[in-house]
Structures are given as C-alpha cells and as structure tokens.
Symmetry: C2
Subunit: 108 residues, 2 copies
C-alpha cells in the first residue's frame, strides 16, 4: 500500500508523535476510569478473574495498537479516529496526500 512507504517530514513526525501520544493518553485514561468502575463492584473472586481477563485482553490490544511504526501510521491514525481517540484536527499539519489516505482508510 502506497501509504506505508510515504516519507514523513520533521514537522509531520512531530505532529504524528504528538497525536499518537494524545490518543494513547486519552484511551489509557478511559481505561483507568473503566477499571476503577469495575473494581468498585468486585465482590467475589470470579469478578476479580473477569477483571483480570479484561485487563489481559486490553493490554494485548493496546500493545499492538500503540506500536509507533511509520509504515503503519496512516492505518493506525485511521483506526484511532474511527474509535474516537483522535480527531482530524489533530493531524491538519500532515500533507494533503496523507490526510486523504487517512480519510479513505476511516471509511473502510
């Protein structure tokens, strides 16, 4: 895919890292809120193992999702936008070409 081999200017790299870190901070903050909510209603050991299963799945998902990797970054950004952790406004300093590709990817 063309998007995977696109070059990134210094400015774009900075914008990309900031956007990536912003999305990570938002999503992990939401996860902390969710875990606090679940923790407050734990009353039996099965509830605890359910929380453990939930954390195992979310950790695995986040580890894969937030691997900062330029060849995959347009796809990553499209996913983060679709999931609501990032806005197009966070990426307006990227080239029009990249933004068009991200926009197209969000519609897949």
């Amino acid at each position: 895919m063309q998007a995977n081999t696109t070059e990134w200017s210094d400015t774009e790299q900075l914008v990309a890292k900031e956007a990536f870190e912003k999305a990570y901070a938002l999503e992990t903050s939401a996860l902390l809120d969710e875990v606090r909510r679940q923790s407050s209603s734990i009353s039996a050991i099965d509830d605890l193992w359910n929380l453990h299963d939930f954390l195992s799945a979310r950790r695995h998902e986040l580890d894969g999702k937030y691997d900062f990797n330029y060849p995959m970054l347009l796809i990553t950004f499209a996913g983060l936008i679709k999931d609501g952790w990032l806005q197009f406004d966070d990426l307006t300093s990227l080239s029009k070409d990249k933004l068009a590709k991200i926009s197209a990817l969000t519609r897949l």
Copy 2:
C-alpha cells in the same frame, strides 16, 4: 511419600473439603481486599499494568495451590497452615497419623 497414598475416610474427606474451602475463602477474600487497596491508588497506566502482573501471578499461584488432590492434600494443608490460611484446629478430625505428617511438613 507415604502421606501421598494415605486413604481418607468419609469423615476425613468431609473435613478436608471444608478446611480446603475455608482456606480458599479466606485467601481469596484477602486478595480482594488487597486488589481494592491497589485499585484505589492507580493513577497511571503503569500502575494498572503492575496490577495486571500482580493478578496474573496470584491467579497462577492460586490455580496450582487450590487443586483439590488427595495424594497432595497433606502437603497442601501444611502449606496453608504455614501461610496462615488454615489452623490445625480445622483439621482435628483427621487421623493422628495424618496430623503428625502435616505437622512434620509444616516444619520443612
């Protein structure tokens, strides 16, 4: 080991199961308290992954420890007594031979 092949009377089986369940209830209740304590101080994602690591280790430990298995039960009971989850008084209906073996095992 002789203790592993000892037979268990119906009464001893009942006592063993009750003691086992009591220890499990006590230890898991203490774990729930510990998790509530840790959860209340989570403020960053690394704290959450530390909690996840802690739960993974404790779950693995408890799964192995609370496998009700007659050939291993004297060793299991000795470990539970050493760790404070069971008292000798919970096992007084067992034969003197079994109690002597459990007592010896607690001193290993």
